[in-house]
């Protein structure tokens, strides 16, 4: 009986449900409270910082000897920038940490922080990309005149010819607002100092504990061995908890300096101000189409506002370079020209957020398909069908190799599930009654589970990608899998336990997955880029497979059978074709305690395995029906269908949960959430009342159809699925909204498409009509 493919309730849940979870803030008791004093202005020179006497207050001057954070890309077009741990001389964005205070409890720390006064000679801030790129603009970083920190350019030789030959050229200007991953648990850390060893243990709400330890050791110039990083229960991350942030450096520094435990628990305002942001992209794209709708070429100028600093370790190249490499998405296109820039400004740092550039890429391509279809008089589904990838492996113009997928099939499934034909009749009736319904589609690929080659190609100095798993069966027959990956709430441990259980013939409840502790797990890269199931899962399968081989050889000796005849299932080692069997715990015990009997198999059941795959592609089609209230500009989503192909589903319930959550964040991106700076660089959206994350009232039922394409690019046959929901949803929603507003001829090219924006477009359309 296989555990793979079953919607097993999560092993993680009982403790979380009973309030026994251990999130970082739950570990802060007894530690001194740390509060950061943050810059109230976006740009300026620090003249002085006045601190109250006799209190524990530290500024950059105290941190002499601590290096700045400075991530590197080995590319001629990349300019590295240094992020000081506390601002020195200058402030670069509103919310940058200027000083840190330590007090006995949180409220006293807040009182103390209010007594710190920074005298800053404020200067004009560069807030948006147009200002940053304007001729003669002030340089945000003096050594980066022009304000471009990374710039990738590609141009295939036949691009101009493609545009010359085109029957129709579609030119689009698209814009995505700035967004926050907004995990419900903010960032935070508790640094514990061990007086005997001098070691520090940092409990932190992070997705990459090993990487954090390396980064901390580098900037603090200390041996990694003197530091232990633990990610306990993590209350969501979505990319925001990947980077090395200055706050963690300060915590470890304080614990060592004060020789005591210190805790910093971020509040929501701080999370908006000082943790990383994302999106904030502006794309100008032209598509050359033949008369029959064939996409002949794409020419793109892509800009990403990367903020004041570069995130460690993935750098500010993460959004611009993803945009450059993956704009064509699921479409065949022979000729491609692209310029993609990371533009620095006096705003918060841009870092990965679920989807990384692909929500905007998908919005771009899917809007382009709809606009081209309209102009050429081709059905929107038909134009997609003519351009979607259908032979595999497919090589994109940027050299990406797509493994087996089901792009057309997923679209057909979504069209059928949402009943496109039936909808059109309903839409006509509704319009006659003064109601504006619309339908929209979005087809996309989600590149997942890529190993070191992909990151090396990007020029990263630190090249992530592989996972190492150490798998051991103990003498009682229980299994421990120590993984370098690190879950942030998605249920990874249960899914991995299912995989391992199948390899070893035991129940998932007998598999303990140990993660997120640098003292207890092999070096690894944590959770991001929809990689954990594919890569950590692959390594688990390999490591558990090796343990199974040892187990079978021990069992073979014990039962005097041929090793090839021993199978592991239902808790037993069985000799096939006989009724001979042994309970697995008995075999495990013998392996440790009777090892002299087993020759080659040796003592113990411990194996390591590494997996470093080239990567795979999930794919999906999102389809949705919306109703637009033309009086208010409000968009209500009536139906949302996802036809998704993530290969083999290890735990379908968890996969569906990933899709649900992703779609909800995509809805947020499409219609609601935006971080807004004023013209001076002051962030206006610093509470959940301003930022507008959707509630259950805004998220409709999400219907999911699964397709299963088996690909050799992944040894578990599972493809990553963490980001797809967020990638596909904005385009489907915006296309549906445009369809709803087609009687007005309104086109939408910016997200979030707030009621105000939609009303403005309707007003303009009406004005033009009455001209």
């Amino acid at each position: 009986m296989s555990w793979i493919g079953r919607s097993l309730p999560r092993l993680e849940d009982p403790s979380l449900l009973m309030g026994r979870g251990r999130y970082v803030a739950d570990l802060a008791r007894g530690a001194a409270s740390v509060k950061f004093v943050r810059s109230p202005v976006a740009a300026g020179r620090i003249l002085s910082i006045d601190v109250p006497d006799g209190e524990l207050v530290f500024t950059a001057a105290d941190l002499a000897g601590v290096k700045p954070i400075c991530p590197i890309l080995h590319r001629p077009d990349y300019i590295a920038v240094e992020q000081p741990i506390l601002a020195r001389d200058r402030v670069m964005f509103c919310g940058q940490a200027l000083a840190v205070v330590v007090a006995e409890d949180q409220s006293l720390a807040e009182d103390l922080a209010e007594q710190v006064f920074a005298d800053i000679d404020a200067e004009d801030a560069i807030v948006d990309m147009d200002t940053a790129l304007a001729e003669g603009a002030t340089a945000v970083h003096a050594h980066a005149p022009g304000n471009v920190l990374v710039e990738g350019v590609l141009r295939s030789p036949g691009l101009d010819a493609a545009f010359t030959d085109a029957a129709e050229i579609v030119s689009l200007d698209l814009r995505s607002g700035r967004q926050s991953a907004m995990p419900l648990e903010g960032r935070g850390g508790v640094a514990q100092y061990d007086r005997i060893s001098g070691r520090v243990t940092l409990y932190a709400s992070v997705q990459m504990p090993h990487m954090l330890r390396t980064g901390l050791a580098d900037v603090l110039q200390m041996p990694e061995a003197d530091l232990r990083v633990v990610a306990p229960d993590v209350g969501g991350g979505f990319g925001q908890k990947m980077s090395l942030f200055p706050e963690y450096v300060v915590l470890v520094w304080l614990a060592r300096k004060l020789e005591r435990d210190v805790a910093w628990i971020e509040d929501r305002r701080e999370n908006f101000l000082a943790s990383s942001h994302s999106r904030d992209q502006s794309f100008r794209v032209r598509g050359a189409f033949a008369k029959d709708g064939t996409l002949l070429g794409i020419d793109a100028d892509l800009k990403s506002n990367v903020g004041a600093f570069s995130c460690y370790p993935v750098t500010c190249g993460v959004e611009p370079l993803m945009a450059l490499a993956e704009l064509p998405g699921p479409y065949k296109v022979a000729e491609y020209g692209v310029r993609s820039r990371g533009v620095t400004t006096n705003t918060g740092m841009m870092a990965p957020y679920r989807g990384v550039s692909r929500p905007m890429l998908t919005l771009t391509m899917e809007r382009m398909m709809d606009v081209a279809a309209k102009r050429l008089g081709i059905d929107p589904i038909e134009i997609r069908r003519r351009n979607l990838i259908d032979t595999f492996p497919h090589r994109s113009p940027t050299g990406l190799v797509y493994d087996e997928g089901s792009y057309k099939e997923a679209m057909d499934r979504a069209v059928e599930a949402i009943d496109l034909t039936g909808f059109r009749a309903r839409q006509r009736e509704a319009r006659a009654a003064g109601r504006y319904l619309g339908i929209g589609f979005s087809v996309f690929s989600e590149r997942t589970g890529y190993g070191t080659p992909a990151y090396a190609a990007r020029g990263m100095n630190i090249v992530p990608g592989y996972e190492i798993v150490s798998c051991a069966m103990d003498p009682s027959g229980f299994v421990e899998a120590r993984i370098g990956s690190s879950p942030h709430g998605q249920g990874l441990k249960t899914a991995l336990a299912q995989l391992i259980a199948d390899e070893l013939g035991v129940e998932p409840g007998k598999v303990k997955v140990i993660s997120g502790d640098t003292d207890a797990t092999p070096y690894g890269w944590g959770t991001f880029a929809s990689r954990s199931m594919v890569i950590a899962g692959g390594a688990c399968k390999l490591a558990a497979g090796k343990v199974a081989t040892r187990l079978r050889s021990v069992a073979a000796v014990m039962m005097q059978a041929d090793e090839d005849q021993v199978v592991l299932e239902d808790g037993l080692a069985r000799v096939t074709g006989t009724n001979q069997s042994l309970p697995i715990p008995e075999v495990a015990r013998a392996s440790y305690h009777q090892s002299h009997r087993f020759g080659q198999a040796g003592p113990g059941l411990i194996e390591n395995a590494t997996y470093d795959p080239g990567g795979t592609f999930s794919n999906a089609c999102h389809a949705c029906i919306v109703e637009v209230d033309i009086e208010t500009g409000g968009v209500k989503i009536e139906r949302f269908v996802v036809a998704e192909d993530a290969g083999v589903l290890i735990n379908p319930m968890i996969v569906d949960g990933q899709i649900h959550g992703g779609v909800a964040q995509g809805i947020a991106n499409a219609l609601f959430e935006e971080l807004v700076y004023d013209e001076t660089g002051n962030l206006l959206t610093v509470s959940l009342a301003d930022y507008l994350p959707p509630t259950i009232a805004e998220v409709p039922k999400i219907e999911i159809e699964h397709l299963v394409t088996l690909s050799d690019a992944t040894i578990t046959k599972a493809k990553g699925v963490g980001e797809g929901g967020a990638i596909g949803a904005p385009a489907a929603i915006i296309n549906a909204t445009v369809d709803a507003l087609s009687p007005f001829g309104v086109e939408i090219f910016q997200i979030p498409a707030t009621p105000q924006h939609i009303r403005k477009l309707i007003r303009e359309a009406e004005r033009n009509a009455h001209g």
Partner: protein, 165 residues
């Protein structure tokens, strides 16, 4: 802020003697003074609802109430929901139906739903949706939260909790 008050908080039927500043929120008192860290803080300004507890059986955002205001009232937190290791029908439904991912918002949703269903066991799905719209979840897209609460509501109607809760 030096003046402190001695208060007794009754949480999950147990008395806690605390000395707190008047400005100390109920959430902080529960977490830091009583050690009941199941109640979570997601925003501290009353929007997310992660800190929802029951005060005299009514759902309350514990970040918006001062500890001194809770004296003499019965506070219930997620730690008091299960009977020993036997999960409350809501907890069981959340577990079986994948009603949580990271679990951070979960205690707030559980207490909100528990309070609502105890007050009116016959809530319709639409009414439950309306009530749950007061709390935020960032992981689940709410799909399995609504499913879990509706299934638990059915179960609770079939087997009403005993009066000694």
């Amino acid at each position: 802020m030096a003046n402190k008050h001695d208060i007794t908080l009754t949480v999950n039927g147990k008395d806690y003697s605390l000395t707190v500043e008047p400005r100390r929120t109920l959430a902080d008192a529960l977490r830091d003074d009583c050690g009941l860290t199941g109640t979570h803080l997601g925003c501290e300004h009353g929007v997310c609802g992660a800190c929802t507890v029951l005060v005299d059986d009514k759902p309350v955002r514990s970040c918006l109430m001062f500890a001194v205001q809770a004296e003499g009232r019965a506070v219930r937190t997620v730690e008091g929901l299960a009977k020993g290791d036997v999960l409350h029908p809501l907890q069981k439904a959340f577990w079986e139906n994948h009603g949580l991912q990271c679990g951070f918002c979960t205690p707030g949703f559980l207490m909100l739903a528990a309070g609502a269903l105890e007050a009116d066991p016959d809530l319709s799905e639409e009414e439950i949706r309306d009530i749950l719209s007061s709390n935020l979840c960032r992981c689940t897209g709410y799909q399995n939260i609504i499913k879990s609460v509706c299934l638990a509501a059915n179960e609770m109607r079939a087997c009403p909790p005993s009066a000694d809760r």
